[in-house]
């Protein structure tokens, strides 16, 4: 037992969890926490808007595969975190958000900067709670980390009233915690795995669909082992992009609304789908009723509530996918001899790739999103981390930027949060400072959190903003072009601002790249730069993203070009 304030106990508990950085912004209701932070052993990164703090914590978490931490004051500080918290929730990213709250006696009195943040956060957190005495804080932090990081990860919010931060108590820091209503299932049922193995032995046209769960669980080598044993083509969801090396001969890339054409096509021809850590989202599978019709579907996931939520399946394997895959591979290797690469199913795969490589025409410009991204991939080392903004840039990244080293790519795939990529890339850089980090960006999305340039420069977290700039809310414009007869509304950015100058105003490097040659130089210079670099790449506003599976239609209705 040690006597200390609630605020000091919070910082000590975070230190005990091994936290090395928090992202935040102080205010009236978390001043005691900031006072205790002066003596903390970890780093504090001051953001310019709390939304960026939660995105940075999220980006950090996705690379570190442990919870990222963000701080905000009560009221507007706390509500500003919410977009980032909802983003983390939609993508199952572990996060601890610590908000200040008005003092206990003022709660419910509509005090200055008072918000019922527990009420606001409840639907977009895994758990949100408020310790009401200082002595609860050590256990609260332990509980928050345990819940955020275990099972299907997610954000947890701890709301601490100011007087609870200030109060002194004898603190006991627990090493372990049990939460009786929370028991994540980690080891899958062996009989279900056996059932899955039986189906796979008989399957003639098996396909593996890697989801975000593979990345969260770090089940990369296990997934690859299964694919190579079955000689099964591997598609991914967009969240699962990079769960499998995209330069692997069995890789076909993401399926979905803007999936790779061959991936969308081949999954319709399979006789068995193994969905690993995937949730059959509408963006990935199109119509729930059409997807996987007549096929055997094996669904492996850590969250039992995902089984049967969007899609009824034949076999459900509930548990951590890394251990499930390992057991499945062991079971299968006793039953089947490694299949040869020379079989009709893989021939069909090659046929489809050849067909679409030939038939999909590139947009007729010297500098296109596709060419720019291919150039970026060519110059980046395999271990570089890439994230994206949201919109066309994101879908172009999905289509044209191959992830080679598993787990080096992430994006706001579930919530689709514009403004996510740039602060998230800064968080990723804080998690892994030794490798280049790129935000594959569009101008509309970058606009939303571009003031994080100050953080990148001042906190020495140099990232590359690969800005594919059409001065448009391009994806909205594409939909207005496609579905609303080109009646454009609210999509033009009118050449404002000058992004190179904007970068320079913050002390970052700004470069305009008007051709592939200039882009080549710009990327090389950015990789050497000690400050963030914004590479402004002009993209024709009429360049659309194809293939396209229109909303409400099935994968079979995919359009491959205008």
């Amino acid at each position: 037992m040690v006597e200390m304030t609630g605020a000091k106990a919070l910082i000590t508990a975070l230190e005990k969890e091994g936290v090395d950085v928090v992202f935040g912004l102080p205010g009236g209701a978390n001043l005691p926490i900031y006072d205790a932070l002066v003596d903390a052993s970890f780093r504090h990164i001051l953001v310019r808007h709390e939304q960026s703090a939660s995105h940075m914590a999220d980006g950090y978490a996705r690379i570190k595969r442990k919870a990222g931490v963000c701080f905000a004051t009560s009221g507007p500080g706390a509500t500003n975190l919410i977009t980032g918290i909802a983003t983390a929730s939609a993508d199952s990213s572990p996060m601890i958000a610590v908000t200040g709250q008005v003092q206990l006696s003022m709660i419910g009195k509509d005090a200055f900067q008072e918000t019922d943040i527990i009420g606001v956060a409840n639907p977009c957190t895994k758990y949100a709670f408020q310790p009401v005495t200082a002595s609860e804080i050590p256990e609260s932090v332990k509980k928050a980390f345990y819940i955020a990081e275990s099972g299907r990860p997610g954000p947890v919010l701890i709301d601490i009233p100011k007087d609870v931060q200030q109060a002194t108590a004898d603190m006991k820091f627990p090493d372990l915690i049990k939460v009786r209503g929370y028991n994540p299932i980690l080891d899958a049922d062996l009989s279900e795995l056996g059932h899955a193995a039986e189906i796979l032995v008989k399957a003639e046209r098996p396909i593996i669909m890697g989801g975000g769960g593979v990345i969260l669980s770090g089940a990369f080598s296990e997934l690859q082992a299964l694919a190579e044993l079955l000689m099964a083509p591997v598609v991914t969801t967009f969240k699962g992009k990079g769960s499998f090396p995209e330069n692997h001969p069995l890789a076909l890339g993401p399926i979905g609304m803007h999936g790779h054409a061959e991936a969308n096509k081949i999954i319709q021809e399979a006789d068995c789908i193994v969905a690993v850590g995937a949730r059959f989202s509408d963006r990935s599978v199109g119509r729930f009723d059409e997807f996987g019709k007549g096929m055997n579907i094996i669904h492996m996931d850590v969250d039992p509530a995902e089984i049967g939520k969007n899609k009824s399946v034949d076999v459900a394997v509930v548990g951590d996918v890394k251990s499930s895959l390992r057991t499945l591979v062991k079971m299968l290797s006793k039953k089947i001899i490694k299949k040869s690469g020379d079989n009709p199913w893989l021939k069909r795969k090659k046929e489809l790739i050849d067909h679409y490589t030939e038939s999909i025409r590139d947009y007729p410009r010297d500098l296109t999103a596709k060419k720019a991204l291919k150039k970026l991939r060519e110059l980046l080392p395999a271990n570089a981390i890439a994230t994206t903004e949201v919109g066309q840039c994101q879908m172009w990244a999905s289509l044209h930027f191959d992830v080679i080293s598993p787990g080096t790519f992430f994006s706001s795939t579930g919530l689709g949060t514009m403004g996510f990529g740039f602060p998230a890339s800064i968080g990723a850089k804080a998690a892994r400072p030794g490798v280049p980090v790129v935000d594959i960006a569009g101008d509309g999305s970058f606009n939303m959190t571009e003031n994080s340039l100050a953080v990148s420069v001042l906190d020495n977290l140099p990232v590359i903003v690969f800005l594919m700039n059409n001065y448009m809310l391009g994806m909205v414009a594409q939909w207005q072009r496609t579905f609303y007869k080109r009646r454009y509304m609210g999509v033009h950015q009118h050449n404002c601002p000058d992004y190179a100058k904007l970068a320079e105003a913050y002390g970052a490097q700004g470069v305009k790249a008007q051709s592939i040659n200039e882009l080549d130089k710009a990327i090389r210079s950015a990789l050497k730069s000690e400050v963030a670099t914004v590479i402004d790449i002009p993209i024709d506003p009429e360049e659309d993203v194809y293939p396209f599976v229109a909303p409400g239609t099935g994968l079979k209705d995919m359009i491959t070009g205008a």
Binding site: N122, P123, K126, F129, I147, G181, A305, I307, G308
Partner: protein
């Protein structure tokens, strides 16, 4: 109608989390009751819902995901005792009406809790169907106010949760 019985932490905000989940996932419930249990730190919520099996399964799974929900059981109606309490205030001015209501009440094993100059309050305990039946029977007298508790339920025999 399905009956779902959930043991939850007995602390502030838990009912909010549960009802918030129903709203967020578009589960349309019929009734929910909450009260203390044999353990001082646990409450029991009994939820009734009219839905298909798939929705029911999702509701139970989503409920289990809530940190403050300790256990969830979908009760088998054939092996469950379940009751609801209703208080029904009716207009009853003339003696014939009063007699008739009293007769119906005794047939339904309901109790008369209050008789005023112009009104009668009847207390009825039973399954929701029985309460509906009584309500339909006395509707024409003019129901002034009606309060129902929602269903409470326990499985028969040696089943614990």
């Amino acid at each position: 109608m399905y009956i779902v019985s959930a043991l939850v932490e007995n602390k502030p905000g838990v009912l909010f989390r549960v009802t918030n989940l129903f709203r967020a996932r578009n589960f349309n419930i019929e009734s929910i009751t909450v009260g203390p249990t044999e353990h001082s730190d646990l409450s029991r919520m009994t939820i009734t819902i009219k839905s298909d099996d798939r929705t029911l399964e999702q509701l139970a799974k989503q409920l289990r995901k809530l940190i403050d929900v300790v256990d969830v059981k979908v009760l088998d109606r054939d092996n469950t005792v379940y009751r609801e309490l209703a208080l029904i205030k009716m207009k009853a001015v003339d003696p014939t009406t009063r007699m008739e209501i009293t007769n119906f009440a005794s047939i339904f094993r309901a109790n008369i809790l209050d008789i005023g100059k112009e009104t009668i309050i009847v207390e009825l305990i039973g399954t929701p169907d029985k309460i509906d039946a009584f309500k339909n029977l006395v509707n024409h007298f003019g129901i002034i106010q009606l309060a129902r508790t929602g269903v409470s339920a326990l499985p028969r025999g040696v089943e614990f949760n």
